[in-house]
């Protein structure tokens, strides 16, 4: 979600610190995996929001910054189509991109994503299908 390794490292540490701090409050109404994943998604989204707000950056600048970081990822070197796909993903709103990643890359079911994001299955299906449509439109440009 955050693309950059250093940012991902910060977010990961924050997630585990929060897990450590709030483990006593875990009510076991969901699985531990769901609970931790929920903290991770919330931290990632909060990190991206903070990044946008900090220097009053318009949304486009953060997207531009993340796109630049993408282009320097060693895993994408020479792979134009993958790079184009990742750039298309960055054009999605953060929450929609999150849902897409969880469904497409992590192969989570809609029910599992619904538990993590506390959104309805119907809303998630709609969000995912819209995301796919936007990505395909971008890829065919």
């Amino acid at each position: 979600m955050v693309i950059d390794h250093d940012d991902a490292d910060d977010v990961t540490q924050e997630v585990f610190i929060k897990v450590h701090r709030y483990l006593d409050t875990f009510r076991e109404d969901a699985s531990l995996f769901t609970w931790i994943y929920r903290i991770a998604t919330n931290e990632s989204l909060a990190f991206l929001q903070k990044k946008k707000r900090r220097f009053f950056l318009p949304i486009g600048d953060v997207e531009g910054e993340l796109t630049q970081k993408l282009e320097h990822q060693p895993g994408l070197n020479g792979d134009e189509i993958q790079l184009k796909l990742q750039k298309a993903l960055l054009k999605l709103p953060d929450k929609q991109r999150l849902v897409f990643n969880m469904k497409y890359y992590e192969d989570l079911s809609y029910e599992e994503i619904a538990e993590i994001t506390q959104t309805s299955v119907g809303a998630l299906k709609a969000s995912y299908h819209h995301a796919v449509k936007k990505i395909e439109d971008f890829l065919t440009e």
């Binding site: 693309i3 610190i17 990822q73 895993g75 890359y105 890829l139």
Partner: protein, 139 residues
């Protein structure tokens, strides 16, 4: 097959080698360090809001003081005018007669004025002087 399905899924974001070996140590170090508390009143937005309120209060106090000073100035102006000048001004005012004529005087007031006038006696010497002056002016 959609365009997306034709693209192979590639997990291009990898954690560097040995990342997870040191992760727990780094997290423990952070847990040992006391967390810096978040004070909402250190936020820039709060500081701007406080500054605006202070400016507004100063502006309001200055405005009120200005009003008081204007009132004082009016009183000082009136105080600077001589009493005789004020009386002369009022006497010359046409409105004065109109005011007096328009004012309703009750019967009690009329009787009181008449009683006061009739009760007044003129000194004989004053009357003689007055008559002598009249004669001098006439002849």
């Amino acid at each position: 097959m959609s365009k997306l399905d034709s693209i192979p899924k590639k997990d291009f974001l990898q954690a560097p080698e040995g990342y997870f070996d040191t992760l727990s140590h780094r997290i423990n170090k952070r847990l040992e360090k006391p967390e810096t508390k978040f004070f909402w009143f250190h936020q820039p937005a709060f500081k701007i809001a406080i500054a605006s309120v202070v400016l507004a209060v100063f502006g309001w106090v200055w405005y009120l003081n200005n009003q008081v000073e204007n009132a004082d100035d009016a009183e000082n102006l009136l105080a600077a005018i001589e009493t005789e000048d004020l009386i002369a001004y009022l006497a010359e005012e046409e409105n004065l007669e109109n005011l007096l004529s328009e004012e309703e005087i009750s019967n009690e007031d009329v009787q009181a004025i008449e009683a006061e006038v009739f009760e007044q006696t003129i000194d004989d010497s004053l009357l003689e002087n007055y008559i002598e002056e009249l004669d001098e002016n006439t002849f």
